[in-house]
């Protein structure tokens, strides 16, 4: 029982990171029609930059105050890199088909990874926890089970980010314009909305969301420059589980993927987690390509 509760908590908490990555992938896909396989590298960059900057901003007195500017700066830099990926890789080729643009994002991913390895080396980075540096402060009891506080940070920060994103998309004119572009790019242009500007914004937001995921995850899984591939694929799995066209679906997909992965680790062993996780992705792509939550759409002619 104790193990089950722990697995559910840890699964949901790791799932929140996948949810953030998936949300970014779904957002970019809806606005531009492109699956961005560099999304995982934004997570990697966010995590490493956070770990690096947290060291620079560290308070000698030992307080956690330096983490906030470190996280903020990591987020800002990664967002900027996301915008650069759009401007340098996607925008010049936007007249090419979506399939070619997807290949380009894979190229961008490899390039980011290579440049990051040049800049940051191959060693994993250790990021400070958001709270509770001493061992006995590291967990709190929930339902009689000790749960690592960093997981709670993951869940809380993701929750805030998702709500903020939702507010942006539904309450602001800019966000409404973004949804309109996702629904009908041509008609949106007739409203004076530039699809290029919306794509740029989507890439920036997606990179920011990815960096946020990387930041909250860094204290739990020490990031090195290669973690982006696996995280990107897991985020893709999350988005696909949710049907790719719904932000809420991507979040649910991320949580589901985190749960499945943690259950496999808990009951079958770590070595099976990717087999079963990506096996699930494969099964969904084969049997429910529109996502687990959605019925196959009926095409009207």
């Amino acid at each position: 029982m104790e193990q089950l509760v722990n697995i559910v908590f840890v699964g949901l908490a790791t799932g929140t990171t996948y949810a953030l990555v998936g949300l970014g992938i779904a957002l970019v896909f809806q606005v531009t029609g492109v699956i961005n396989f560099a999304q995982g590298d934004f997570v990697m960059l966010g995590g490493i930059l956070f770990a690096l900057l947290a060291g620079k901003f560290a308070d000698p007195a030992g307080s956690q105050l330096g983490l906030f500017p470190a996280a903020l700066l990591a987020l800002a830099i990664t967002t900027l890199i996301g915008i650069l990926v759009y401007l340098l890789v996607i925008a010049p080729a936007r007249k090419a088909g979506h399939d070619r643009l997807i290949i380009l994002t894979i190229g961008a991913s490899i390039t980011i990874q290579g440049l990051a390895t040049l800049a940051f080396g191959t060693d994993p980075y250790v990021a400070p926890r958001f709270s509770g540096q001493s061992l006995e402060e590291r967990s709190v009891d929930i339902l009689g089970v000790p749960v690592d506080t960093q997981y709670l940070w993951c869940a809380a920060i993701t929750g805030v980010a998702v709500v903020a994103m939702w507010q942006f998309l539904t309450r602001t004119t800019l966000g409404t314009g973004m949804r309109a572009t996702a629904m009908d790019p041509e008609t949106s242009r007739l409203m004076g909305i530039s699809p290029q500007r919306m794509a740029l914004l989507a890439f920036g937001l997606a990179a920011g969301l990815g960096a946020l995921g990387g930041t909250v995850l860094a204290p739990l899984n020490q990031p090195d420059t290669t973690v982006g591939i696996a995280l990107g694929l897991k985020g893709f799995a999350a988005a696909v589980l949710g049907g790719l066209d719904s932000p809420a679906g991507a979040i649910a997909g991320g949580l589901a993927f985190g749960l499945v992965e943690t259950f496999v680790i808990g009951y079958a062993g770590t070595e099976y987690k990717d087999t079963i996780g990506f096996g699930l992705l494969l099964a969904v792509l084969l049997f429910r390509p529109t996502g687990l939550l959605r019925r196959a759409s009926v095409v009207k002619v």
Binding site: T176, R179, A180, T187, R189, L190, M191, G192, I193
Partner: protein, 237 residues
């Protein structure tokens, strides 16, 4: 004063030429209709004027400035606004959100002011402002599409077959609204297959036939023209 001037426009899709050198002018405060059968090139012409299609040759001039290669979203901000064929309201968004998008680039205060004017013109839209646009009837959606275009405070509104697929009562409603807009001094370019409806609204018209202008002139002249009468008013001469 001429606000819109199209000269020798050649355009098409892929390798199929749909317009073979069309010229037309629209003056300020004027309502001009383009009539013609399916495939005459009416939509291609309107899309070229709005910037959704880049013409192969020829030019579009807007207030004397060449805008032939200007992006559609910029032309919309300039005040050259298209109400597309099939209405194309954002079905999943509310009526109010659709209107907001029509005035996307304007200041919130200006937008709110124009929105209440649009609601005064279309009281039905005010009643339904929180409703998803896709759940409304075709006529209501057409009103929304026109209201959305007005949100930009356009100097010219291009309308692509606003009566298409509407019930006869809704066609009358749309026609009444367009006449009201003309009375208020709006400049309209109205593409129609329904020549009866178009002639009620417009001052002047062009008959397009297989990508060229076959006849043009004041509406009264067009009404009397045998080519128009046989083909579009369902009369035998």
């Amino acid at each position: 004063m001429t606000v819109l001037e199209v000269e020798g426009l050649v355009a098409g899709y892929d390798r199929i030429e749909a317009l073979h050198g069309v010229s037309l002018t629209v003056g300020e405060g004027e309502a001009v209709t383009l009539i013609g059968s399916n495939g005459a090139g009416k939509t291609t012409l309107l899309k070229s004027i709005a910037g959704l299609i880049t013409p192969w040759s020829g030019s579009v001039r807007w207030h004397g400035k060449d805008v032939t290669r200007r992006a559609a979203e910029k032309r919309s901000r300039d005040g050259l606004v298209l109400v597309p064929e099939g209405r194309k309201v954002f079905a999943g968004l509310t009526v109010e959100e659709n209107l907001t998008l029509g005035g996307y680039h304007r200041k919130p205060a200006d937008r709110n002011k124009t929105r209440s004017e649009v609601y005064d013109l279309f009281p039905r839209l005010r009643e339904r402002r929180t409703q998803a646009a896709g759940t409304m009837s075709g006529g209501e959606q057409q009103m929304l599409a026109i209201g959305r275009a007005l949100m930009a405070q356009p100097s010219v509104v291009l309308l692509d077959e606003p009566s298409l697929g509407l019930a006869p009562k809704a066609v009358t409603e749309v026609t009444t609204v367009l006449c009201e807009l003309v009375r208020r001094g709006s400049t309209l370019v109205l593409v129609e297959q329904n020549a009866h409806a178009a002639f009620k609204v417009a001052h002047r018209g062009y008959l397009l036939d297989r990508g060229t202008v076959a006849v043009s002139g004041p509406v009264d002249e067009l009404r009397a023209d045998p080519r128009v009468r046989t083909a579009y008013l369902g009369e035998t001469v």
